[in-house]
């Protein structure tokens, strides 16, 4: 198995990344309400996945490298997810201490 992708694959990935950039900027002009955020972040995540898999050679690396590459993003999900459980649920129970700065 090769350790790196071929320049031809790099070019294809680069074209895909440019297409996704055009798509994300275009999608921002389409009013989708709260789904605009989801679409923009989903496209950003797919672009990041392409970069990690091909440009960073993770696709051709060992399982252990996969685990190390995914670990950082998992901890990021914990950081964002658990923070969101606090701030996005405060208004569920009205209380003067929920938003003390208002």
């Amino acid at each position: 198995m090769p350790r790196l992708a071929s320049p031809r694959t790099f070019l294809k990935v680069f074209i895909a990344l440019l297409a996704l950039t055009a798509l994300t900027t275009g999608a921002a002009f389409v009013p989708l309400g709260p789904f605009n955020d989801a679409v923009a972040l989903l496209i950003a995540a797919s672009k990041a996945t392409l970069v990690v898999l091909f440009f960073m050679n993770v696709r051709y690396s060992s399982r252990l490298t996969w685990a190390f590459a995914v670990a950082g993003f998992c901890w990021l999900a914990v950081l964002l997810g658990l923070s969101a459980t606090d701030f996005f649920t405060r208004h569920w129970i009205p209380s003067p201490s929920a938003f003390p700065w208002r």
Partner: protein, 219 residues
Amino acid sequence: MVEAEPVGPHHTPLREQFEALGQQREADTLGMWVFLSTEILFFGGVITSYMIYRSLFAPAFHIGSGHLDLVSGTAMTVILLASSFTMALSVHAAEHGLRRRLMLCLALTLVLGLAFLGLKAHEYYHVYQERLVPGSRFHLEGPHAREVQLFMMHYFIMTGMHALHMIIGAGMLIFLITYAARNTYKNYTVEICGLYWHFVDIVWLFLFPLLYLFELRTR
């Protein structure tokens, strides 16, 4: 795990603490990914802060985002993606001992990286002229002016930290070009530096929709 590897003058030699090149390569890659994980969480902190403040002061973040130039943001994204592409080609060239192509690709990566920083500097100057830098000179009419400073604060910390990483990356590229010019480059040094460069690109892929596209999305 232990595999036979071709060894040429441009290949990283086996250091004494390793049994085989495959093992050494794995250790080098894992070490870099551990560092990159800490970097993910470093940027994760400010992204979490952005998420919370944006949920609290959505109208102000909407106004702030509207003051950023979408055209220059998109151009910076394309430039950075192109630099990642040339960096990937550099790693490929180093692996196969193609020194001239390596130098060309590294130089292109450096030029694209500097072009990104130039656009960024131009944007900072524009924001400064509009008096949108948080602080005593900050001036904006409207009901959410105070909270817009929070958006600009996030803008400067996120893009500033990213730009600092780009400057470090540019310095790294200058070293790699020097090694290639002296014909003392090693394939694995280029590959590990490539991982760093691509990571900085990934950070921007997320900063771009968060900072530049938000204004459009809530219109």
